[in-house]
Amino acid sequence: MAVMTMRDALNLALREELARDKSVFLMGEEVAEYQGAYKVTRGLLEEFGPKRVIDTPITELGFAGLGVGAAMVGLRPIVEFMTFNFSILATDQIINSAAKMLYMSGGQFKIPIVFRGPGGSAYQVSSQHSQSIESWYAYFPGLKVVMPATPADAKGLLKSAIRDDDPVIFIEQERMYGMKGEVPEDKEFSIPLGVAEIKREGTDATIVARSLMVPVALKAAEELAKDGVSCEVIDPRTIRPLDIKTIVESVKKTNRVVIAEESHPFAGVGAEISAEINERAFDYLDAPVKRVSGVDVPMPYAKNLERLAVPDVAEVIAAVRAVSYL
């Protein structure tokens, strides 16, 4: 095990996969000469050259579609969005081309592409640069959506995403790039898509958390343990396909569940998980499913307002107490 940041774990995954397969290439804004706006692609231009690590113009729809076209004829593009906020410009190509090509061609054209970059809340950049849009992409059959919460998961899941034959939306939390953790050094280490992980075992309540909310949920569980409340923290890691079985098994054991997410609540991933739990484990619930979400407003700039917009440890603790009638 080596201790490294999420940024370096992602960088290592990219480096290993570029070295492993010549059909893999990386493109995006500032990924090459600038070394990445968030330095995830640092050093890759020097190692793999300008043919395989490509700076693009600011033309998200164009280069997303270019990537899908290249994937149609056998390449395995990794398309970086400087942030997922900018992927909104490329949604036609992601949804109408990448997600549906295999189906509408009757299985002839698979699209092995990864769209990756930072998403979720950032620090004080206001509404257009700080938001969670995973529920958009998770809505569409044909796409896979991955959101890692630890450096090891980031590395293992990104390697699987690059090797996968389907289009994968890989959302890295912008605030978490500097977070450190242990990462296996084995070059063949990878984590399968679609498998949740129990980040902490417990018996009294389940907290389902993804991305930035995983460390928040773990901290809440730690605090609640001091009061004798044992929380199980489950990280789905892959949003689509969702490992609902692991979540439901946990709920059957604890009978209480809180879903923590930084995204808006309306038509969000938490709403989907809640619906699944109600359909599959209603009789096991001792309290209604409770969501802790980002507030239902565009992200504000002011530091105090921004803090209020994103769920924190205290809110998760309060939610667990509420479903436990404590």
Binding site: G62, G65, V73, L102, Q108
Partner: protein
């Protein structure tokens, strides 16, 4: 008739001397005639409720697709919009597989999952029919990118209507193609109407070929009713693409005789306007040129008509007899690597 471009740099390419061998010329004539009769049959089948959804016919524009595709090698790529039945046939998908797809049958080239707007055949490098205006242009650019990346000399032909030129996807793609020198040939089929909106009401600079100068790209303005002019212009573009990885923008000035789709009565234009263009019908002027040059006789034409009639009837029989997709197919091909949960 075709309006002359206002910019002297964009002289129209038309009426080249015939230099192809007879076999090539007959193949071109056969394809144009087959597409014409095939599309007429589509209109009929649509009216009978055999074909559903949207159905955009190519009648009037045959010279563009046939002329351009006739210049390709088999291993080159074609990617296009939703008005693509004719181009699919010209690239080598059988009329049977196209008709069965329109009928929503398992024997269709996309197994009945794509329909009229989404014809695909990997075996002949026909990369689809795409339904969002301009959506295929970035895809084509990526296919050309892959050819250069893999160091092959394959070229990619990308067809789109003039209305797609107003989309950002067009401009973003041409910029990247010239910037990175990608072997993509962009063929704008300027049929002068985006659905019911005329070019004059939708485009500030109406000479599409001229827009290439914004990207320092080679371009050509071609009589899209003249199949050999289309073929020559495409051959020139292919030479640039194969030898130097350079893209080209070709504007083919053409006209569609039918509505935008089968549900369009075409109230935005006059009968007289349609008839004016039909005077230069691409199949008729090509046939006349071949006759004048002693390449075909009236009997050859009659034989060809009979052959095409049989081919179209065969495609309908195949489509009628092909089974519907099995209900289990609803759930296949969503993912190449499905994950069970």
């Amino acid at each position: 008739m075709l309006d002359a471009p206002t910019d002297a740099r964009n002289q129209i390419s038309r009426s080249p001397a015939i230099e192809e061998d007879r076999e090539t010329l007959l193949k071109i004539l056969h394809q144009m005639l087959l597409i014409r009769r095939f599309e007429e049959k589509c209109a009929e089948s649509y009216s009978l409720g055999k074909i559903g959804g949207f159905c955009h016919l190519y009648i009037g524009q045959e010279a563009v697709g046939v002329g351009a595709i006739s210049a390709l090698r088999d291993d080159d790529y074609v990617i296009t919009s939703y008005r693509e039945h004719g181009q699919a046939i010209a690239k080598g998908i059988s009329p049977e597989a196209v008709m069965a797809e329109l009928y929503g049958k398992a024997g269709g080239c996309s197994q009945g999952k794509g329909g009229s707007m989404h014809l695909f055949d990997k075996r002949v490098n026909f990369l689809g029919g795409h339904g969002i205006v301009g959506g295929q242009i970035p895809l084509a650019t990526g296919v050309a990118f892959a050819s250069k990346y893999k160091e092959t000399d394959q070229v990619t032909l990308c067809f789109f209507g003039e209305a797609a030129v107003n989309q950002g996807a067009f401009h973003e793609s041409l910029n990247m193609a010239q910037l990175w020198k990608l072997p993509c040939i962009y063929i704008c089929e300027n049929n002068q109407y985006g659905m019911g909106t005329s070019l004059a009401r939708a485009m500030s600079l109406q000479n599409v070929a001229e827009k290439a100068c914004a990207y320092s790209m080679e371009s050509e303005f071609v009589d899209g009713m003249d199949v050999l002019a289309m073929r020559r212009a495409t051959q020139r573009a292919i030479k640039r693409a194969r030898e130097n990885y350079l893209p080209t923008l070709i504007e083919a000035r053409t006209y569609r005789y039918m509505g935008h789709s089968m549900s369009d009565p075409g109230n935005y234009r006059t009968r007289a306007e349609i008839e004016k263009y039909q005077e230069r019908d691409p199949i008729r002027i090509f046939t006349e040129a071949l006759k004048e040059n002693g390449i075909v006789t009236d009997k050859d034409i009659a034989d060809l008509e009979a052959q095409v009639k049989e081919e179209v009837e065969r495609s309908v029989r195949f489509a009628e007899e092909s089974p519907e997709p099995d209900p289990s197919e609803l759930y296949t091909n969503v993912y190449a690597n499905p994950i069970e949960n």
